[in-house]
Structures are given as C-alpha cells and as structure tokens.
Symmetry: C2
Subunit: 352 residues, 2 copies
C-alpha cells in the first residue's frame, strides 16, 4: 500500500513531545503525520519531521484517512476516544491504562511478544505502563532462556512519569530550595519553604526535591498503589506467564527522566552472572553496563535520552536458588512510552 | 558508682555532631564528656550539654579515666584506636565496620538484642551500619512474633550516610544546577555542567543531584557492594538468624538525611496487615504511618531529625505466602548511627 497515515493524539504532552522527536528521527515510513491535542492547543504550530504542523483539536474527523493513531493522553480521554478511532478504521495504539488488561486487547513489547500485535479484534493495541516497560526488554530476554518464576521489584521513578507537570514541579522546588544549605535536616523544613514560595498544586503527594515518595498512582485494595498492581498484571500478560509471582514497591525520586528498578528475579533454571551477561549482550535493545569494580553501572543521568534498556549490578543471590539481583534503567519517555508505541506502529505498518 | 565518664571520638563528624546533640538532650547520666577528633580539630571549641568543650587530638591519654568511649571515625582509625581504648579500660562502642562481624564482639540494637551487650570479652561493642539499623527496630518486632525467614531489600540511602562530605556535595551540585530547567534530559548533560562548575572531588561515584546511584561502599566478590553484604551479615547477627535469606540492592538518592528501604519480608507464620499494624504499634521505638488511602506514609523529609523507625505501605504480598511488602524510613544519623550508640552506652552505663 501507499505510505500509511499516522495521527499522534496528545502531541503536546510529555510523551507526545518525545513521540514527535522519535518519528522525526527514525526511518520515515509515514505518509501524513497529523498532530492532535485538546481544544486548548488547537491552532498551535509544532514541529514534526522538521516541518511545521498545525495542531488539531480532538474530534471524530481527525481520524479520517488515518491508518494508525497513537494515543498519549490521560486515561479518561483514551477511554472515550480510542474506540472512536478504531470505529473510524484506524488501528489505535494506546499508551493509557484503560484497555491494557482487557482480554481482547493485546499488550505489546515488540522485543518480547510481537506476535500478539496481530490479534487485535477491537482494532486496539495497548502499550504497557512505563515502569513495567523499563525492565521488559531485559527480563523478556532472560525469561526466554531461563524461565521467569518470581519478581520482587523496587522502583526509582522519574518525575516525568507524571507528565509535563512532573519536571516543572521538580525544577520549581529545586529553585525554591537551592542555596539554603540546611534544607532536609529537620522534619517538615522543606514543606515550610515550599508552602511559602510555591503553590501547593503539585502532581506529587509530598515534596519531591530532596525526598523520595513511596506512592505512584491511585489507591487499590490492600494498600497497593495502582502502579504496583499494573507492574504485576502487565508483566504477566506481556511475558505470557499467568502465574508469575510479583511484588513491587513503587517510589518516586527526584530524577527528571529515566526510571530505575532494583529487580530480584527467580528463574526456573540455574543462571549465573556470566550466563546473564551472555544473554543480555545478545539482546539487541539491551545495553549491558556491568563492571562495578571499575565503576561501571547505569544511572538515570547517563541513560536519559537513549532508546535501550540498560542493565547493571547483576549478582547471583547468596541465599536464593536460581536468582539474580540486578539494576535496570530505561528512559520512561522513550522505551517507557513513545518509543515502544512507535515500534508497535512500525510493526503494524509493515503488515498493513 | 559515680557518674561514668564518656569520650566521643570523632566529635566533629556527621555522626559526631548528632552524637553531641543527642547526649545533650537525653537524660544526663554522664560525668565528664570528653570530645576527641583528629589533630586537625584539636583546640577547636564545640558545644555539648550547652557547655563549651575543647576538642582533644586522639592519643592514648584521652582514654584515661574514661568509662565508655563512643567511636564515630573512619574504619581504619577505629581499627587502630578502638583496641587502645579497650586496653586502657574503657568500654568501646564502635560505629565503624571494623569489628562488627567478629565473633567475640557483640553487634547490638537495644530494642532487639540488649542481652548481647553483656558479652563483650574484648571490651568492644559494635553498632550496625546505618542501612541495616534503619529497619531493625521494625523487623526485630515482627520477627519476634512471626519468625523472619527471607528479606529482599532495596535501599534509598541519604547522602549524609557518606559523612559530612555527602550533604556538602549534594548542596553544591543542586546550587550548580538550579535554575537550568533543561538539566537531566540528555545523557551526560549534568556531568558537563558539574565538570565546569565544581571540582570532581565527590564522595559519590556519579552525580547525585537529579540522579540515583546504585552503589554504596567498596567492591566485593560477585559484584556485590560492601553495604549490601553488610546488610545481610549484620541482619543475621543482630536477629540471631544465621540462615536468614537476604538479597539487597543499595542505591544512593539525593536526600540529605534519612535512609528508606523497600522491604519484602517472608515469615515462618502467616501475617496479615492488621497483625503487622498491631505488632508495630506496640513497638515503643516504631511509628506506624500507614493509611495510604489518606496519603499517610513516611517520607524522608517528614522523618529526618526524629528518633523512631517509621513504617508504612504495609501490604500482604499477592503471590508469596506469609509475606509482607513494606516501606521503612529511619534517620541514618540518629537511630542509624548516633542514637543507637548512645542507647548502647546508656544500657552499659546502667550496669557498670
Ligand atoms: N510520562 C510518562 O512517562 C508516561 C509513561 C507511560 C504512560 N504514560 C501515559 O501516557 C499518557 C500521556 O501522558 P503524558 O505524561 O504525556 O501526559 P501530559 O504531559 O499531561 O500530556 C497529556 C496530553 O494529552 C492531551 N489531552 C489532555 N486532555 C485532552 C482532551 N480532552 N482531548 C485531547 N487531548 C487531551 C494534552 O493536550 P493539551 O496539551 O492540549 O492539554 C497533552 O497532549 C497518559 O495516559 C499517561 O498515563 C505516560
Ligand atoms: N554518616 C552515617 O550515616 C553513618 C552511619 C553509620 C555508620 N557511619 C560510620 O561512622 C563513622 C563516622 O562517620 P561520619 O559519617 O561521621 O564521618 P565524617 O563526617 O567524615 O567524620 C569523621 C570523624 O572522624 C574523625 N577522624 C578522621 N580521621 C581521624 C583520625 N586519624 N584521628 C581521629 N579522628 C579522626 C574526624 O575528625 P576531623 O574532623 O578532625 O577530621 C571526624 O570527627 C564511620 O565509620 C562511618 O562509616 C556513618
């Protein structure tokens, strides 16, 4: 067929901005690229593929002639508009949490389960939440060889995972606090400074500068945060292991972009550090940075802006059989969001 | 006996400064309090119990007439001088890593194993590393009732755990970066700004502002960091569980003071969230902050400067039997260091 037409819904957001950058720098297989956001942004001009494109307000007509629509919008907007896109004949690739766990919607990470993208009875393909995605390329490669059984995960999640408001708030707080070399030394001192200098309109439930906040998402039964439940359910679905054992604690940290995860992973088969190195070195979208004796391991500031999943600190657990402990970093706006959606779009486009 | 005399060795350091504050505010059971540091600090005047005291340079004579000497100095200084203090008849309470795992040196957390402080054939009592200590009051209380079997821990460690140089570096980096609302968005950008503005003399192996660094301590076989190995070995010794299974990943975060830990803990017996609440509420040095539906959980900025161990985010694991996931915060300079040493000193002093 001729070049497929692509619509980017939420083109002005944190993910949408990276999305425009990604489709502008990867092999250009697209016909028209249409940019869509809320009525607030309609008429704005944004760059994509080096050209100025006028943003359109989301409406049924924006899907006319579109083959693939990538949605990077809040859950409730996706819930309403993804089915509209599909009904108008576009294949909808959705980044929101709305459809991910529906049995007739595939949840796809192209390195792990590309075949699932072909079964899309509703014309919808979901892409996972950024925390799960940050480790999937690595864990999928290890699972394929050693058979994953259990995951215990603690996250170090960047503020841009909360959208454009996240980095804005972190920069605001850092500016409000910088220069005072006593902050963070008595309980509540930072809260007081921030209350004086900033509005309390933060995307985070506590100060995020000089702090870590053990909460991400909404409240779920049993005291779980929705992000922790997603990490469990989405990992199971992507890897195709319905009885995978998962416990996660999700924590927000004052990092702009790039999520990190401390992963404790138990496999069916024995696996050494050397085995894991071999498998991960062979994984095309994984970069191994694992030579701690020489100070080599990934940190968010060295990973941000890059596509791969970075893995380091691989250790064989002392006391748990067939178990590795490791540290993974992935750019939550790239592989964690926009890149994975772009890869799905390219996968689908090749088979149109 | 008359009031015991106390010497604080390392009185000028990060832990030593909190130590002076703590002995100045707790019940005053001491005769003389002597302040000791390196020859660099000799002659300086520092406050303790509201009085000016002249710092003495470390030398054998500083232990003359001293009943209890608390050491808050680097490992190699402790290795040399703790035995000198003991040989001169003082009971040495040592915060360094030097003696902790020696079989004839007790490793004491007063809430957990106070009886161990009585068996001190060498006249030395060790106090645990700050990461282990940050969770011990809570894990000890749960262990006493439910029997701990396994721990998987990921840490969020404050910069003051690296001594006074830690906060100084974090404040420097924050000042160098504040106001630039693009930092942290491309790989290496922060490294470049810091290389231009600051010396590369940092206690951390990577930038710590806007970053997390998965390394704490020195290199150990198998790719482990010494802090991770300590957390395993010291937890076993303090709790008296020689076969406790432990895996830990230690990560430094841009928090000034207060370590946090995401803990996945498996017990011998079934334990619900309500059970854990009951046990932790009854533990005198633990504060339960666990009502996430109403935004109640501990964060370092709300805990810093306080003595107790704060626990929240307690959840029953979905997929692991007898297992809780939880989040613990403790001030690494207080309970994690100075307070625990002061409590040991008081325990010992009562029985002199
Ligand atoms: N940030 C991440 O790391 C990340 C990772 C994984 C998943 N996600 C998910 O990706 C989606 C987008 O997140 P984000 O971080 O990019 O959020 P964001 O920065 O807040 O951007 C939201 C986007 O949605 C648009 N939008 C909002 N309401 C709309 C409406 N009624 N009609 C049409 N467009 C509307 C906004 O347009 P205007 O500018 O016109 O308001 C903007 O383009 C969310 O579902 C989020 O959960 C984000
Ligand atoms: N910070 C924490 O959270 C923490 C927690 C647990 C354990 N620790 C341990 O506690 C100890 C002290 O740590 P810190 O963080 O307080 O370090 P710090 O801030 O660097 O202070 C070091 C102290 O040791 C003194 N010192 C250094 N060399 C000396 C020498 N040759 N003779 C006599 N005194 C000497 C210093 O005196 P000058 O000022 O005169 O140099 C200073 O008082 C270390 O063993 C550390 O591993 C620290």
């Amino acid at each position: 067929m001729s070049r497929p037409n692509l619509a980017l819904i939420g083109a002005t957001g944190a993910v949408g901005t990276v999305m425009r950058d990604i489709v502008s720098t990867r092999d250009d297989i697209w016909g028209e690229i249409r940019l869509v956001a809320s009525p607030r942004s309609a008429g704005k001009t944004l760059k994509v593929r080096g050209e100025d494109v006028v943003v359109q307000a989301l409406a049924p007509e924006v899907f006319d002639g579109i083959d693939i629509a990538i949605f990077d919008v809040p859950d409730e907007v996706a819930a309403e508009w993804v089915p509209v896109a599909a009904a108008r004949g576009a294949i909808a690739i959705d980044k929101s949490g709305t459809f991910r766990m529906e049995p007739d919607v595939p949840l796809v990470v192209p390195e792990v389960n590309p075949q699932d993208a072909r079964q899309r009875p509703r014309g919808i393909i979901s892409t996972p939440n950024c925390t799960t995605l940050s480790m999937m390329a690595a864990m999928g490669a290890l699972h394929a060889v050693y058979g994953l059984k259990e995951l215990v995960v603690a996250s170090y999640q960047a503020v841009s995972g909360a959208g454009v408001a996240g980095p804005a708030r972190l920069y605001d707080e850092v500016e409000a606090l910088a220069g005072d070399r006593s902050v963070g030394q008595t309980a509540g001192d930072v809260r007081k400074v921030l209350a004086n200098k900033l509005s309390d309109d933060s995307p985070f439930p506590a100060p995020i500068a000089f702090n870590v906040v053990p909460w991400a998402g909404s409240y779920k039964d049993g005291g779980w945060a929705s992000e922790e439940v997603k990490l469990r359910n989405e990992s199971r679905k992507i890897l195709g292991i319905p009885d995978l054992k998962v416990s996660a604690t999700c924590v927000r940290v004052p990092v702009v972009t790039t999520h990190s995860l401390a992963v404790h992973a138990r496999f069916e088969r024995d696996v050494t550090v050397a085995d894991a190195h071999r498998v991960l070195e062979a994984a095309p979208t994984v970069v191994l940075m694992d030579d701690p004796a020489n100070g080599v391991y990934p940190t968010p500031l060295d990973v941000v802006g890059n596509d791969p999943t970075y893995v380091g600190r691989i250790r064989q657990a002392f006391d748990f059989p067939n178990t590795l402990d490791l540290f993974v970093c992935g750019d939550n706006l790239r592989k964690g969001a926009a890149l994975n959606a772009a890869e799905i779009a390219e996968l689908v486009a090749r088979e149109l």
